[in-house]
């Protein structure tokens, strides 16, 4: 089990942040949260997460712009990004055609399904020493 990986969850809806954080913490992950793209960029630099889950529609910088920013930086380009969207069919495939975006999920989503996806995406990502220490 690749537990104690760090996951950054970005959403401006407090309830979504809360429910995803709890689900993934219950699965053993270390969780960081942000409420918009700008805040998320700051958090990425601060904690360098192993995975990012982000909403699309957010103030200041939307989720896709944020994912694009991550893909441009060699230090963060490797971080897989899961995009959650409530825009449904109006989101064009070309919009999410960003190298680090690994999955686009429509809201409403299943926390159980998100946990399984995280497990899958982090299966081959080694846990960094600092995280092992934190988890311990």
């Amino acid at each position: 089990m690749t537990k104690a990986h760090t996951i950054l969850i970005v959403d401006d809806e407090a309830h979504i942040l809360q429910v995803l954080s709890l689900k993934l913490r219950n699965c053993g992950y270390s969780i960081t949260t942000a409420v918009d793209g700008e805040d998320a960029l700051y958090q990425v630099k601060a904690c360098l997460p192993d995975l990012v889950i982000t909403d699309v529609q957010m103030p200041y910088m939307n989720g896709l712009e944020f994912a694009h920013e991550l893909s441009k930086d060699s230090k963060t380009a490797h971080i897989p990004v899961v995009v959650l969207t409530a825009r449904g069919h109006t989101l064009e495939t070309s919009d999410t055609d960003i190298p680090n975006v690994r999955k686009v999920l429509s809201k409403p989503f299943s926390p159980r399904g998100i946990a399984e996806l995280c497990e899958q995406l982090l299966a081959n990502v080694p846990i960094r020493a600092s995280e092992k220490r934190d988890a311990a």
Binding site: A14, I16, L20, L22, A86, G88, T90, K107
Partner: protein, 419 residues
């Protein structure tokens, strides 16, 4: 009687002369008759010719009248109309077509279609339609460039004439699809926004229910918290659906409202009383500045109460703890209207967003994480005030300095209390 030869000769000569005279006279008479007949025929011919000429003039006059009538009808149409004859020459273009083709109606008439219509595809299509069977129209969509702008048109072609003729006249109608496309885009944008806003509380409800089912809420306190979120989000969804239905009913002109005399002061006081607990939670003061005048107006009390509550609720949501909210109501004798406002010491709204806050699903971006909303409340307020009560609603705001939402509603009849 005459015995001598001379007398006989004279008598004979006289007789001959008489007979000749009679013959000559008869001949002259006959010629006269022929001339009269000829003259009569000529006169008749002339009369017929005159009649025919008159008739031709009348017909030409009728044709011109008909043509003018038909042209007038064509010019009333908002669509471009181009009519060509079986030879491919323009019989008529209406005013809209004249504008579209950049030609005057007079200069287009009589010219081959290819000289009038610059767009080769359209000119060829119209020309080809002459060989089509009458009553078998053709319809397609085409983009046409006009003054550097490309506009989508629905082109309808219809040939007119007898079936046994090889070529026919053609009536072409071009309908500008810009407005329809614009409406389709607005609809799509609305559906997209509605979908987003409805899915958001639905996501919370669905996720929290699944967490409860999966046992992720490990103690009673967490479970109670989850039930609370589910209840709140269900109510939010319900409010959104109700607002949406109300707005669409008002927009469709189907909303029935009770127009009775309403005491606006009572509505304000009731709303303030009901909202005070929410304000208290954030340590906010609500001040009332209600003028000592008759504030009754003719309208729908429930709807107006909803407007007051929505404005107060927004002020409470977006004013930081310890702030101040002021509700004011008065009448304006000059405009014979009621004025109401809700001012706060909240976050304020940037000038480029003040007009948009009344749009459907518009949420001030940096407010989204401050408080939840349906994105429909202010739009519903605008509909209730402006559409249903012929009033006005507006906003004065300075970023970081608070906002003042105001409305004015015609009082319909003077209600100021006698001094």
């Amino acid at each position: 009687m005459f015995t001598d030869p001379i007398s006989i000769l004279l008598f004979t000569v006289t007789l001959l002369l008489a007979v000749m005279s009679i013959i000559v006279a008869l001949k002259l008479k006959a010629r006269e008759s022929a001339a009269v007949v000829a003259m009569q025929i000529a006169k008749q011919d002339a009369e017929e010719a005159c009649h025919a000429l008159d008739s031709a003039k009348i017909h030409a006059c009728i044709d011109r009248t008909h043509r003018r009538q038909v042209e007038s009808v064509f010019n009333v149409l908002r669509d471009a109309v181009i009519v060509i004859d079986a030879h491919g020459e323009v019989l008529h273009v209406n005013e809209i077509a004249s504008g579209l083709l950049n030609v005057s109606i007079e200069s287009a008439t009589g010219k081959p279609i290819a000289e009038v219509v610059v767009d080769h595809q359209l000119a060829a299509t119209i020309s080809d339609a002459r060989s089509g069977l009458p009553k078998e129209g053709r319809q397609y969509e085409q983009e046409i460039k006009n003054d550097g702008e490309t506009v989508a048109y629905e082109v309808h072609l219809q040939s007119v004439g007898h079936q046994d003729e090889a070529m026919h006249a053609v009536v072409t109608v071009l309908r500008d699809l810009s407005r329809e496309r614009e409406i389709a885009l607005l609809k799509s944008d609305f559906v997209s926004k509605a979908s987003h806003e409805l899915r958001t509380p639905l996501s919370s409800i669905s996720a929290y229910v699944e967490m409860l089912v999966d046992g992720d809420a490990q103690n009673e306190e967490t479970r109670q918290e989850f039930y609370g979120v589910i209840t709140t989000e269900t109510q939010r969804l319900q409010r959104m659906i109700n607002n949406l239905l109300n707005i669409s009913q008002i927009e469709a002109g189907l909303m029935h409202i009770d127009r009775i005399r309403v005491d606006f002061q009572e509505l304000v006081e009731r709303a303030v009383t009901n909202m005070k607990p929410q304000a208290k939670e954030k340590n906010l003061e609500i001040h009332s500045q209600i003028a000592e005048v008759d504030l009754s107006i003719v309208g729908d009390g429930d709807m107006l109460y909803q407007v007051i509550v929505n404005l107060l609720s927004n002020a409470i949501k977006y004013t930081p703890e310890g702030g101040r909210i002021t509700v004011a109501a008065d009448t304006d004798n000059l405009t014979r209207s009621l004025h109401f406002s809700v001012s706060d010491t909240g976050l304020g709204i940037a000038p480029d967003q003040t007009d948009k806050v009344f749009d459907k699903f518009y949420r001030v971006e940096n407010y989204r994480h401050v408080a939840q909303g349906t994105g429909l409340g202010l739009n519903l307020c605008r509909h209730i005030v402006e559409t249903l009560h012929s009033g006005q609603i507006g906003l004065e705001s300075t970023l970081g300095m608070g906002s003042k939402f105001w409305l004015s509603i015609p009082a319909e009849r003077g209600q100021r209390k006698a001094a």
